[in-house]
Amino acid sequence: MSYKLTTDNINVWYGNYHALKDITLKIRPNTVTAFIGPSGCGKSTFLRLINRMNDYIDGFRMEGQVLIDEKNIYSKRVRVEELRKEVGMVFQKPNPFPKTIFDNVVYGLTIRGVTDKRVLAESCESSLRQAALWDEVKDDLKKSALALSGGQQQRLCIARTLAVKPTVILMDEPASALDPISTAKIEELISELKQNYTIIIVTHNMQQAARISDRTAFFYLGELIEFDSTVNIFTAPKEERTQSYITGRFG
């Protein structure tokens, strides 16, 4: 079975700070991978490496390779805009644009020059359905996205990401700003999306990682300490530091 994402000896610096050290891992398609670890351990940095969102940070420097479908995404021939069509991202805080719900969902299409009203409407509906938001907003598509609740806004952000038809979806603590019911909806959604997408999620919530992920990676101080099936990580970790972290002895 082939891998969707492979990284090979990734090192990242922010100025003089060595943020990621020799990260090598492989992720299979149609799986949910959780990145866990204490704050500042590099898990978000690593996530943002996969759609090149770190490119905008001053002093960012990287060595090593990130391959998606065996293509190096940091090669000079890769256009970042094309890469991000392939690799979508959902952020920690819901960040809808101050536009209508409809305009939010189809933004990724309109910036690529899609103007056909029917295509846009179809994409809007199917994306909102996939994000389990359609029934709640189908009569309010022209309303401002900022009028939605936090949980709805986050599902809108997921719908907006799906509309571009990525193959990989990165999620940076997507439920940390939401109430438990909204969180449950997002988690349910992630399990469904797995059938069609490869999902990588950063989370501080270890129960969440245990519930939704197939494999879990534990980061600590910029190193990948352990990467194994979620069951193994949570029941029989090989590393002592993993054991200490998941049992709450530090973090």
Partner: protein, 281 residues
């Protein structure tokens, strides 16, 4: 002295300072209105200037002011907004941008008559534009550019980083992110800054004296190359005359000028409030 006393003392001191400004402004307004309101009528606005105070009107000066306002807006808005976008979005890290930034902040503090001297040398003489509307508008554009640039940058800075990230993450290019997300969200702040800058330009006299605005213009300018007068020039001229009747004319003209700036500032506040309602995070 206990804390409560200090607290009260400071509060009353602050109130006194605020009242000082407001009362001075009030005295000035009352004074002007008492002097000039009786003189103000439609005829005063429609009449051309005249040697006789009772026949004199401000028509050409108002038209000159509108011309200057329009031309300055056409020149200064695109240049100022584009420069603000460059400094905030593109040139952020370079040393060149740093030097520019310091200089722009300094430019905002230069006395306006210096801009007049610059305009005289560059636009009137070197470029050969003469004492025309376009020379005046170019000079005033230089004067208000720093204000527009700084306002644009502040407005862009106020747009949350998360919006920018969301746009990039969906595959938008830098320009798409700026034009589709940043500028619409920053629009309120930019428009407010632009209007305030223009209302400053409307009231400027010193640089226009230097670049050759006339004090007596018996005709309405037809093209940007024509000579002109503006309201502050007209007021300046009338006030410096010995006859008392002209002082009344000046007061009436000041009321018109005040109304113009008041309307502009009001529009700025209105637009800002409306935008804030539309764009909320």
């Amino acid at each position: 002295m206990n804390n409560r006393l200090k607290n009260n003392l400071f509060k009353y001191w602050a109130i006194a300072c605020t009242l000082f400004g407001i009362i001075m402004l009030g005295v000035f307004l009352v004074n002007i209105f008492v002097d000039g309101f009786g003189r103000l009528d439609w005829v005063f606005i429609k009449y051309l200037p005249s040697r006789k105070a009772e026949n004199a009107g401000i028509y050409t000066a108002v038209m000159g002011t509108l011309w200057i306002l329009g031309l300055t807006a056409i020149i200064a808005i695109p240049v100022g907004v584009a420069a603000g976008i460059y400094l905030e979005e593109y040139g952020k890290k370079s040393r060149f941008a740093n030097i520019l930034e310091i200089n722009i902040t300094n430019l905002a503090g230069i006395p306006s008559i210096i801009y007049g001297i610059l305009g005289l040398e560059v636009f009137v003489r070197t470029a050969g534009l003469g004492s025309s509307l376009i020379s005046g508008a170019l000079t005033l554009s230089l004067l208000i550019l720093p204000v527009i640039i700084v306002a644009t940058r502040e407005a862009i800075k106020a747009v949350p980083k998360t919006i920018r990230e969301a746009s990039y993450a969906l595959g938008a290019s830098k320009w798409q992110t700026i034009s589709e997300q940043i500028l619409p969200a920053a629009g309120g702040g930019i428009v407010t800054g632009v209007i305030l800058a223009l209302s400053r330009a409307v009231g400027e006299t010193a640089p226009l004296i230097v670049v050759g605005a006339l004090t007596y213009v018996p005709f309405v300018p037809q093209t940007p190359m024509d000579q002109y007068s503006v309201l502050p020039m007209q007021i300046f001229n009338w006030i410096s005359r010995p006859e008392k009747e002209f002082a009344v004319n000046a007061a009436a003209a000041i009321i018109v000028l005040l109304i113009i700036t008041f309307v502009m500032n009001g529009t700025a506040i209105f637009l800002r409030n409306r935008w804030q309602k539309k764009v909320k995070w």
